[in-house]
């Protein structure tokens, strides 16, 4: 809903011009970045550790290969994570459980990371997520008139029941033929349920598909902490800069301690897929 306010503020862009400019920026020491994901699905837990770089840096940011990583839960269990066991070059900096496990609804998980003698911790709770009833698709006429990508103008329609007796937060991931997609690279698809009625009938997706595409939607539960993080992340990724009308840019609020960037997300996941035919 608040995105409509943001859209409204873009009205000023109708009269503005812009160009790329070079900034003379202050250098700050690089910071540890942790992207942790623990779900209720087997084989879907990982912790990726990297470092921030200068604004004008190019290529992948530096990976951290020698961290010690473990997760504990509120039942006293401990899960050790090891770095890239199969030594896959694309998985540098990614830590996965030494012994596979799945998260359980209602449990609180705590991540412990140690890099160069510095410790970072974060906790998050695994909340359940309502199932998606069904997916349908239809042609979006505006997109068909002027598609961003040739031939891609089918939108997914989501049907679900939003539980009204509890406060829920969601993160959505859309896949096209198993590739994660975004309409704009800075889009974050998330929601709270404050304004949502129970009957969610035919909410269109923000991304578009071509015929014969396989469309998949993943539906993640978030804690309020997770919602706050993704909302803040979306705000800085889509900031008008320097807070002219929008808020002054500021780092997303995270559950990680000791100044680490990123987030440790614990989620239940539901998925649904369909073919556009």
């Amino acid at each position: 809903m608040q995105r409509y306010i943001k859209i409204s503020l873009l009205a000023i862009a109708l009269i503005s011009c812009e160009e790329t400019t070079d900034l003379d920026l202050k250098q700050t020491p690089s910071k540890i970045v942790i992207e942790g994901l623990l779900t209720d699905q087997p084989g879907y837990q990982s912790v990726e550790i990297s470092r921030s770089t200068g604004f004008y840096g190019s290529g992948q940011t530096p990976r951290v290969l020698d961290a010690t990583v473990k997760v504990t839960d509120d039942a006293g269990l401990e899960f050790n994570f090891i770095h890239n066991p199969r030594n896959h070059p694309d998985s540098a900096g990614i830590y996965i459980p030494e012994v596979g496990f799945s998260g359980e609804a209602g449990r609180v998980y705590t991540l412990h990371v140690t890099v160069d003698g510095e410790s970072y911790e974060a906790s998050d709770k695994l909340l359940s997520v309502a199932p998606i009833d069904s997916l349908k698709f239809q042609i979006n006429e505006n997109e068909q008139d002027d598609p961003k990508e040739e031939g891609k103008f089918y939108e997914l329609l989501v049907y679900a029941r939003e539980p009204q007796d509890e406060e829920n937060f969601y993160l959505f991931r859309y896949y096209r033929n198993d590739s994660l997609i975004f309409y704009n690279p800075s889009d974050v698809y998330y929601s709270d349920d404050e304004l949502l009625a129970e009957k969610i009938d035919g909410v269109p997706s923000p991304v578009y598909y071509a015929s014969n595409d396989k469309a998949r939607l993943e539906f993640y539960s978030l804690t309020r902490n997770g919602y706050v993080f993704y909302n803040d992340l979306s705000t800085i990724l889509n900031n008008d800069g320097g807070g002219m009308f929008g808020p002054i840019p500021s780092s997303p609020r995270t559950n990680l301690s000791n100044g680490a960037l990123g987030f440790f997300q614990v989620s239940a996941v539901q998925e649904k897929e369909t073919y556009i035919e």
Partner: protein
């Protein structure tokens, strides 16, 4: 406290009644051509070295010992009048002043009394002369007084194309903007490209930046008082204009000649035309309607009814639209209880609202928000004797804040109706002040304002485990309040003091101190407010903002008042300045109180101002150096930071040259240090995203801003011989086409069509600028 204040007032009035050897001279002063009351006319008695000025209603009263006096009436742009009167009893002298046809002559023959700049006790005040403003260049040729206010010393802007302004370190919401005494909560059209003030109906406007009189209150940093014309009470006039951006028309005339008149004006834009999006089904427009009616029953009773409404409407082709607007109404009754006791009674209403909506079967919604204000004011002035003029009064204001209601537009919508609770506030203010002439050199204006502010029910207050935790929000209890029940009361005493010490040869020193208290807070986390921001009253969690300001200045006139110069320095300290937590969610948040952060702000600066008001060449130049800092717990890690509007150096010049009766040339140049902004100190990867690393708030400055605007006004010679008076105004905005920075944002490096360049890991900074060189033509007419 309240009783003591009332008692003191009565005491002063009673003691005044005892001194009976005095007589009172009073009256109204008007423009001879159209009957408009003139405000700020100097009435001066050389033999007593005493005088006064007409008040906001064109009324003056002087209490003097019996005797024969020469009395001089002078006003900028008008012929001076000298009357000799033998005052043996109370005398009412209403006067009409002729505009000075000789204004464009450079020669000044007679000695004039010093004008307001040096003599008035009031410092830190600027008056906009509408005749002068008309000669200056304007964006799209659309004269906008807010843009002229932004050129005054001590006033800072967020950037071009913005109607917000910042006075002496204050935030944008700390200015009380009044149209015919009614507050305007958002003075912007098109997000600030223009303001709501249609120049055709404005009589004059004044900006108080310091030494604020006790009759004003409610905002910390400035009072902008805009007064509209009463309407010509001698003959019918139609004025109007056709511009690049908007057209306007005003009709005014007598209802009963000399007794009653009206003015109605309207303005509508055709912005759609200039927008790039004009080819699509996007409809964007704004309009303003002003109407005023007055009835001067007799010298003792005058009635005014003023009305304003204006609106912006945006509609986009995907059925999304939004709009906002102000509506104000003022009823005023000027009454003379006696020769010496002048009363103004006002009833004022003001409404601001915005709406957003989407027409869609599944995602359709309507979002509405509004703020309503009703107030009653009684302001009195009493001319006690030659040396004392009292002003006192009582203001009662009630406000209802409806921050938002979202409802579905169709039964199949995924949304449900959610409404944020309304908030109510009641505000009482009592004030008393005295303008006292201590000696030929020293005059004081001292007073006090008492404000009693109440946040009242109906309403609920949530209690939290930690009221400042905006992530893990745990409500522990809810306090319920019935209708009219006090939720929180704040009582503040605001002392005001101004001193003027007259030096020799047209020079004076002035000093002032004021305390201001603000109980309505704008909920805005950006630099420039937007119409979608809401307001909150001081409440259970939000304390009143309090500002103390001291200012001192040196004032000097040169060459028979042709040049006015002032140098002022100020220091302002604000406690409980309202700010918001980093990443605050300010829209539609039921737990908004967890986002409030209040702290300290301090500002100081030096303002130099040179003004030439008469002659062929007129204009002003100003230089301001200022510094504005903040320190707020929970913002920028509690470390002090530069305020968003902390622009250290500002230089402005505006000038007009009346070549002859046909041609007038105008120019304006502005330079200012760039606005502080927050830029990244690095970047990192998170999933597919590459967000910026942000450290220090407002740690960088945008590049400097400078711009030159030019205009030429042509008054065809044939105007003289016909009823229809036409006028062409040609102007060029940003004459040397500087790309002035509006803001900077960052994104993944991409080409102009939005295709990612490289592997998607690289970022770039984009500078946004608004207006290139913009020529415009406006045709104005009058008949």
């Amino acid at each position: 406290m309240l009783r003591n204040l009332l008692f003191a007032t009565l005491l002063v009035i009673c003691s005044a009644a005892a001194a009976q050897e005095k007589v009172t001279l009073n009256g109204y002063i008007k423009d001879a051509d159209n009957g408009e009351e003139l405000l700020g006319v100097t009435i001066y008695i050389p033999s007593l070295k005493a005088g006064t000025v007409t008040n906001d209603y064109g009324f003056y009263a002087l209490t003097l010992p019996k005797g024969s006096y020469e009395i001089r009436f002078s006003y900028i742009g008008y012929k001076e009048q000298v009357r000799t009167l033998d005052l043996q009893g109370d005398v009412t002298l209403n006067l009409e002043m002729q505009t000075d046809a000789q204004v464009i002559q450079e020669i000044v023959i007679e000695e004039k009394p010093l004008d307001e700049n040096v003599v008035a006790v009031q410092m830190s005040k600027n008056t906009l002369n509408m005749n002068q403003v008309r000669k200056l260049p304007a964006l799209f040729g659309e004269i906008d007084i807010i843009k002229n206010i932004q050129m005054l010393p001590g006033v800072i802007t967020a950037g071009e194309g913005s109607s917000s302004f910042f006075v002496r370190g204050g935030s944008a919401d700390q200015n009380l903007i009044l149209i015919d005494e009614a507050p305007v909560y958002d003075p912007s059209h098109l997000f600030g490209l223009f303001s709501v003030f249609n120049a055709d109906v404005i009589k004059d406007s004044e900006l108080y930046k310091g030494g604020i009189p006790a009759r004003f209150g409610g905002r910390l940093s400035s009072i902008l008082e805009v007064r509209t014309k009463d309407g010509n009470n001698k003959e019918f006039d139609v004025t109007g204009g056709i511009g690049t951006m908007a057209s306007r028309i005003a009709i005014e005339g007598p209802i009963v000649p000399e007794k009653s008149s009206f003015i109605v004006s309207a303005r509508r834009s055709y912005v759609d035309f200039i927008l790039k999006a004009a080819s699509q089904d996007n409809l964007v427009h704004f309009y303003d309607v002003n109407a005023k009616f007055n009835w001067k029953s007799n010298n003792s009773n005058r009635f005014f009814l003023a009305f304003y409404t204006g609106r912006d409407v945006f509609n986009f082709d995907d059925n999304f639209g939004f709009e906002w607007g102000n509506m104000t109404g003022t009823f005023r009754w000027n009454h003379l209880f006696s020769e010496r006791l002048f009363s103004n009674t006002s009833i004022i209403i003001s409404n601001f609202d915005y709406k957003l909506g989407l027409q869609d079967a599944v995602q359709g919604f309507r979002w509405i928000s509004n703020l309503q204000e009703f107030s009653f004011r009684e302001d009195l002035s009493y001319s006690l004797n030659t040396n004392n003029e009292l002003a006192f009064g009582y203001h009662l204001t009630g406000r209802r804040f409806s921050p938002g209601e979202i409802s579905p537009t169709t039964t199949s919508s995924i949304f449900e109706t959610v409404e944020l609770q309304h908030m109510y506030a009641l505000d009482h203010a009592l004030y008393l002040s005295n303008l006292q002439r201590l000696s030929d050199r020293i005059t004081l204006d001292y007073g006090v304002r008492l404000s009693i502010f109440q946040n009242i029910g109906p309403g609920s207050v949530y209690l939290y485990e930690d009221p400042k935790d905006n992530i893990d929000i745990h409500r522990t209890d809810t306090l319920h309040f019935d209708k009219g029940e006090g939720i929180k009361t704040y009582i503040n005493i605001e002392p005001r003091l101004a001193v003027r010490y007259l030096l020799k040869e047209g020079q004076s020193l002035k000093f002032s101190y004021n305390r201001m208290v603000q109980n309505t807070h704008l909920i805005s986390a950006g630099t420039a407010p937007v119409p979608f921001n809401t307001w909150n009253p001081s409440n259970y969690y939000l304390k009143p903002q309090v500002a103390d300001q001291v200012a001192a200045g040196y004032f000097r006139n040169f060459r028979q008042n042709q040049y006015e110069f002032s140098a002022e320095a100020y220091y302002k300290d604000i406690s409980n300045v309202t700010d918001f937590a980093d990443n605050a969610q300010i829209f539609f948040n039921e737990d908004l109180s967890t986002e409030y952060r209040q702290g300290d702000a301090w500002a100081y600066g030096l303002e130099l101002f040179l003004n030439k008001k008469e002659g062929k060449f007129t204009g002003n130049a100003s230089y301001t150096w200022s510094k504005t800092m903040r320190k707020v717990e929970g913002v920028n890690l509690g470390k002090e930071f530069r305020a968003n509007h902390d622009r250290r150096n500002v230089f402005n010049i505006q000038a007009a040259y009346d070549l002859n009766e046909k041609w007038v040339f105008g120019g304006a140049f502005t330079f200012s240090t760039g606005r502080p902004l927050t830029l990244p100190a690095g970047k990192y990867e998170y999933g597919n995203y590459n967000p910026d690393v942000l450290t220090e708030r407002n740690g960088y400055l945008l590049p400097s801003f400078h711009r030159l605007d030019l205009s030429v006004t042509l008054n065809p010679r044939k105007n003289a011989s016909r009823n229809w008076k036409g006028q062409w105004v040609f102007s060029v905005y940003n004459a040397y086409n500087r790309k002035n920075p509006f803001t900077i944002y960052t994104r993944t490096r991409q080409d102009e069509d939005g295709n990612i360049l490289g592997d998607g890991s690289e970022k770039e900074a984009r500078l946004i600028y608004l207006f290139p060189v913009l020529p415009s033509v406006t045709y104005n007419f009058k008949f």
